[in-house]
Subunit: 319 residues, 2 copies
């Protein structure tokens, strides 16, 4: 039995745990993969506030973990396979048995869908990227390849033109984006900043010691085409890690992200969500951490019986 | 004319500026006081995520400033006295003339109300505190004085009992808190963890080189009473810095905090708010920074004409 169990141990959970444990709230984090989440496997993070020259992802992840553990957070490796609302208590099914918790924080994040081609994993963060806001600025005055044909691919290609000299957009079949975006991208096609290649399936990402050098694509008639480039951005979708919530009462949106209210609470009282797994998430570490802090304060209010008590006014009201 | 003008230069604005300027959005911050806001005048910040051993407030503030300036943020000292919505453009009246902006981010923060007694300023952050979540943990097994008689004072006194051995609660007149809180505090009065002193006005905070040693209060019959203590927490209210918005169209709540929607946008299109000035703020640096990042992404969407275009789906929807 714990006061709060956090599912996942990325920046949102670790920040929340810094807050809860510092306040002597008994906290357990259950992580099935890497402590630190996507941040831990990112090379250099340029925009996490407070590190003026940037910070290595692993370094930030380790620092967050140390900070949470310093105040008493416990981190267990294991997988949560189900969350059951039993009123006052929540029961989590895990690989090492059931865990009971008064409150639950879901911070399982979300993964970028991958193409699975050779070189994608090898050059991850060294030329292969999944987030334009995070890594676009590393490609000032460079050439880029973008893979994808949906809204994100078009949107982020337009965005990346502020850095890149030219973008080859590889689309497996046809563009499947909104009319608005198709209209918006037109001027970039007209002035040659973006070239769209329809019917091109990525086959291999090739590089050398300095990173990516080209993408080989296969055209619809089976021919291989080389696209020389300094980097590749892949936008073929996001996959929130919420399969374990399928048989729970927690409401997900159409894409599988967890729906929360202003208090970061789900539709189930006592179950909260923060970070990339949340509907409306920005996929930014700073936002995830900020939500972790906010969620921790809301969880404290919940545990103290104040969150759902309309008679207790908000703190800011008090003179 | 700027793409975005941020009013204030605390953690929320500096983080937002890291994001906007890194994306070549022309950004100006106008600050009337200290760059870094309340964070800059805080001694040690124990719970800002990413600094496992804590970080000095000034150091964090400097780091945030350097990071924002590295990407091209401009910071001007000056005071914004009015914000006018002129449709596509916003006009800001400042001490050095009018500034035009396509979007505005309000991050003026909020100040803790002060008692004004001698010693309050001298021992600030060395025994005098305004935030239990931030600094309570420094008082494990120590004695505390709490000043105030409203909801916050009661709520935070109860919270501080998890650290302090004993709390003297000094109330100038009578308790003005909700029935629920008055009921909640009763067991702590019964077991002697908290002693309430009604009709006691703080007169002086006394200390030595190591910090605060006692609070002198004046009782209603004019007698001075010494309260020996290791620290003082003052909860007599919050004052959001929104006087400059009085003649604007931006909606404030009853206490003067800025009301925002899920996109951190106010009721005026193109005017956003983040951090402590926002209704619902947690008064935590991590949350303010996180909101800054989120606001920056929303401002970008606004500048690109996407935020209010229902035809463009959310990025997370795109396959």
């Amino acid at each position: 039995m714990h006061d709060v169990v956090m599912v996942g141990a990325g920046p949102a959970a670790l920040t929340a745990a810094i807050y809860t444990t510092r306040e002597d709230i008994d906290t357990l984090l259950v992580e099935k993969g890497v402590v630190g989440g996507l941040a831990a496997v990112t090379d250099v993070i340029d925009n996490y506030p407070g590190f003026s020259k940037g910070v290595h992802g692993l370094e930030l992840a380790e620092s967050l973990r140390e900070q949470a553990e310093r105040f008493g957070a416990k981190i267990e490796l294991g997988e949560v396979s189900g969350v059951h609302d039993e009123g006052e208590l929540k029961r989590l099914e895990t690989t090492s048995g059931d865990i009971l918790a008064k409150a639950v924080l879901i911070t399982t994040g979300c993964d970028y869908k991958k193409t699975g081609v050779s070189g994608e994993e090898e050059y991850y963060a060294r030329g292969v990227h999944f987030c334009a806001t995070c890594d676009g600025a590393f490609y000032r005055d460079k050439r880029l390849v973008v893979i994808g044909g949906g809204n994100s691919a078009l949107q982020e290609s337009i965005f990346l033109t502020r850095y890149a000299t030219h973008i080859d957009l590889l689309v497996r079949s046809n563009i499947k984006a909104s009319d608005v975006l198709q209209k918006e991208i037109q001027p970039y096609l007209d002035n040659g900043k973006i070239t769209v290649h329809l019917g091109v399936t990525p086959k291999e990402i090739v590089g050398d010691d300095n990173g990516v050098t080209k993408v080989i694509g296969t055209s619809s008639d089976g021919k291989d085409i080389d696209f020389n480039t300094d980097g590749v951005f892949i936008f073929i979708g996001l996959k929130p890690n919420t399969a374990f919530l399928k048989n729970s009462k927690v409401k997900l949106n159409e894409q599988g992200f967890v729906i929360t209210d202003n208090n970061l609470e789900t539709n189930v009282k006592g179950i909260f969500a923060a970070g990339d797994v949340r509907s409306g998430a920005t996929m930014q570490i700073a936002s995830a951490s900020g939500e972790g802090a906010t969620a921790a304060l809301k969880i404290r209010e919940y545990l103290e019986g104040r969150l759902h008590n309309p008679k207790v006014e908000q703190l800011e009201v008090t003179p």
